[in-house]
Symmetry: C2
Subunit: 542 residues, 2 copies
């Protein structure tokens, strides 16, 4: 059996090595357009910041290693320019020649390419591979660049901004959308933005790049509001699109998402061609086709492809919830499944719960408050979760991702048994708390409103202690500390909607319980003043 693989990074190299483990006798050839295979894609920004040192540490495996250990023929600087599905042949272009190669099975793992929207120039870079990374590094060093514009505030943009700042560069991060980190909802993304700003990065949102122009002392960028500014270099991190042109030209089916279409077994519309990685359309948390260019899914798809070529049946790679995490200085932000923006856009019915738990037992030193947001269906099924904080954030999201794999509900979150000792967790873990809060909403034990739903006709009862009010309060709210509520019920209007607000939602819940049982029409403000503040900063509350 002769298997050709287009692309030598996560999807391609993963499929090749797994296939070798399954089949010692197959001829396996990888064609990689670039100079490097199997490199640490997700590590590239960290090279710029000096966290990862040495080009060799960006490369997980070299062609020589893949030959020696896996008997795989790796051809770098070799672009596959055409596929003849009928004849089962590809055309390969290398520096000195163009030639055909026949196959029994073909694997397409060409990845994704960085969007540039036509913006280019000297000192303008994308950050997609090792060559890009070394070019940026060399340019910054040789030109003694002191100011860089990073265009785009997603994972790569955020990580690049952090790392350039760590290198001592003055960084401006410009994001065309209304918030950075689009996988997050705005009230969580604002925490990432604030962390970047606290570390000296200038963040502009709602601000795209119209054009760049090389000028004497660097690059002049024109923004979408027609303002202009000068930088020493520009890094474009404005998202990626699947490298599906080769597949499309060959007549393979392309998904409406722009990715290569496959079945559950990663088989394309041609029975001898498989696909894996960023170029492929996957099935998202809501069951519809989508693009999720992440390393984890690419690796799983590669594994599936190899297993299926070797005669197995593996559909493990196609369903992708998009569990992901980003570090921004000392902040971690992570998410899985659908966010609120996506659910709203899709017209899906959902509820949500905010929690701001401590990362570990509050009485043990070093506990840090995190922000968590859970999205769930009216029947309790978990739809997505996201959070940001200084410690153990991605652990909560990992656990929720595991629950989502089984189609679990908020009851499952409440019931989970998680490792507890004071340095690691609380006896009721953050995930348990999210489950409890969601249960209380669903069972009606704690009727809840969300900060963006606050209307002027509601009576907002702030149950915090007077000392806490200095940090700000909701306009028009009336303060009755929780511990004085039972003896002050006469101060609360009957026949009016009462919104109980506290710091993070816990005392509000207790207040609601007291009021409801005393006959009031009471609702908890989900996430309390903390959620209110984040939503306000994010522009979601007028």
């Amino acid at each position: 059996m002769k298997v050709l693989i287009v692309g030598g990074v996560a999807g391609g190299a993963g499929a090749a090595t797994r296939l070798r483990r399954l089949d010692e006798s197959a001829d396996i050839i990888i064609f990689e357009r670039g100079k490097h295979v199997s490199y640490a894609n997700c590590g590239l920004p960290y090279y710029l910041g000096g966290e990862i040192k040495g080009e060799e540490n960006l490369t997980v495996a070299t062609p020589a290693f893949l030959k020696k250990r896996f008997n795989i023929d790796v051809r770098v600087n070799s672009e596959v320019v055409a596929i003849d599905l009928k004849a089962r042949k590809i055309s390969v272009r290398s520096a000195d020649r163009e030639y055909a190669e026949s196959y029994d099975k073909l694997v397409l793992a060409p990845g994704a390419k960085a969007n540039t929207f036509g913006i280019s120039g000297d000192g303008v870079f994308t950050l997609k591979d090792v060559t890009d990374t070394l070019s940026i590094d060399a340019y910054i060093a040789s030109k003694e660049v002191t100011e860089v514009l990073v265009a785009g505030g997603g994972f790569i943009g955020t990580e690049t901004a952090e790392n350039l700042a760590k290198r001592g560069i003055k960084v401006t991060l410009a994001e065309f959308g209304q918030q950075i980190m689009p996988p997050l909802d705005p009230e969580i993304a604002i925490m990432v933005q604030e962390e970047l700003e606290a570390n000296g990065i200038k963040v502009l949102t709602g601000m795209g790049i119209k054009s760049v122009k090389n000028v004497d002392d660097g690059i002049e960028a024109e923004f979408t509001d027609s303002s202009r500014a000068r930088f020493g270099a520009v890094v474009l991190a404005m998202g990626v699109k699947p490298e599906s042109a080769l597949a499309e030209k060959a007549g393979l089916k392309i998904s409406p998402t722009g990715g290569i279409a496959t079945d559950d077994y990663m088989l394309t519309s041609d029975e001898n061609v498989y696909a894996a990685g960023d170029a492929v359309a996957v099935i998202g948390a809501d069951g519809t086709e989508t693009l999720v260019p992440l390393a984890g899914p690419a690796n799983r798809q590669a594994r599936s492809v190899a297993t299926n070529i070797a005669g197995g049946k593996d559909s493990n790679g196609r369903r992708v919830f998009g569990a992901s995490v980003v570090k921004a200085f000392s902040l971690t932000a992570a998410c899985v499944g659908k966010n609120e923006k996506q659910l709203k856009a899709a017209g899906v019915k959902y509820l949500k719960a905010y929690a701001f738990p401590m990362s570990h037992a509050g009485y043990y030193p070093g506990a840090k408050q995190m922000a968590l947001k859970l999205l769930f269906a009216p029947d309790g099924k978990v739809l997505g979760a996201e959070g940001a904080g200084k410690e153990f954030v991605e652990k909560q999201i990992d656990v929720i991702s595991a629950v989502m794999k089984f189609g679990g509900t908020v009851n499952d979150l409440a019931e989970l048994e998680l490792c507890y000792a004071p340095p690691f967790n609380s006896a009721k873990s953050p995930v348990n708390m999210l489950g409890f809060i969601a249960q209380n909403i669903l069972t009606g034990l704690c009727p809840t409103v969300y900060p963006e739903e606050l209307t002027e006709d509601a009576f907002v009862l702030d149950v915090r202690n007077p000392s806490e009010l200095a940090s700000g309060r909701i306009p028009g709210s009336v303060n009755v500390p929780l511990d004085e509520l039972r003896s002050n019920l006469y101060k609360i209007p009957k026949n009016r909607k009462i919104i109980v607000s506290c710091a993070v939602g816990l005392r509000g819940y207790l207040g609601v319980r007291i009021l409801k049982q005393a006959g009031f029409d009471a609702y908890n403000l989900s996430g309390g003043f903390k959620a209110y503040t984040l939503l306000k900063k994010a522009g979601k509350i007028r």
Copy 2:
């Protein structure tokens, strides 16, 4: 409704506050034998080490707070000495009187008491509550104690040893069993032991305390091997037993485990009496009754009890997998479900997989190798997991605990989507790797033997590089580096069982694949030389 609660820590205080949220009008009275309620049980050892400072930080809630916020009547220094189930009355003994109190519903949350096996004396302590903690602290300070014997190497013993050492005390930890940390298997527990030893603690295993005697300059302890040694103080941490005497005397059903028997709704054999917390028998991972004195389950049981008293149906607290974690200096060890010792003792059929993955992407600075062990049934169902390492260990166990909640299999572990960015994880996470290894065992792709199964008739093929052999090797093994294996197959005997060994099991797997396809009878040594070494240190390999 009048609800009396015996015990004011996790189970009792949790039931009381939840019940108040559900029922504003109930009369709720907590009777606590000791001086403190709702204290940070799991934080006590850290007070001794100075990590937690100030008595007030050991107390989560005071009686005054519980009264003010939850309208709960808390009576400390009040021991419930009898229950009259028929008359629905209890007898309470306080400092100055003994009186009866009637109830509609009674909740038993008396906790567990520390085993002492009759050992007592001046300067001999248990560490069960705030009073114990303050006594130890005061004794050490006033007597200027410099050497302490900690008897027992479980969670409390390990944490106490660490914290006393941090305080500058010379600590001897003596454990009667053959290993410390009994919830772990010996080859993982040995890592905890080594971490304690590396930090100056003298660890004795297979060594119990026979007796102690007060002598002029401290305490003389006699060990089970009849040796004697002197210490300034002794802390007994030799496990706990449920405080079920009161329940038993009242005629309530007691489980063969010694815990109070309940149904799934935490209702005892009397229809008006519920129970929660360490005193209760729960259902373990294998479906049989057991005792799991942990804070998380106690909290869940408390929640169940309150819900059920208020007319709900909550069976969330009774099933307990025993997810738990311990910190020992810079090492974290965690586990969930059944360990191998328990499975073996119960005669359950199981398989196991070792993995020694990096805590995050190897190319990002600071990655640390961890040890993980997975136990699974022949049908793939996950039975338990444990691990130890410097970073992110409990995260892996939490994720596996979530999978176990759904009765998940090793396939689920392989398929899980977990947050990946270089500082947090690898694209194939440690949990995924465990799943892959287990799948390869179950499907027969990689026949596997375990280090303790090595026999002299096997041909052990070490596929590490020559440079790695300096760290030790399996006696009688023959070295052929993996990358030279294909061209050296003639060196390998046919018609003999070949055990392929490497550093951690990955290259061994690759070697097995090469050999099997070349017609050899090859097996991977699970966990490679690393697992072999740990098992040898733990005395499991001759």
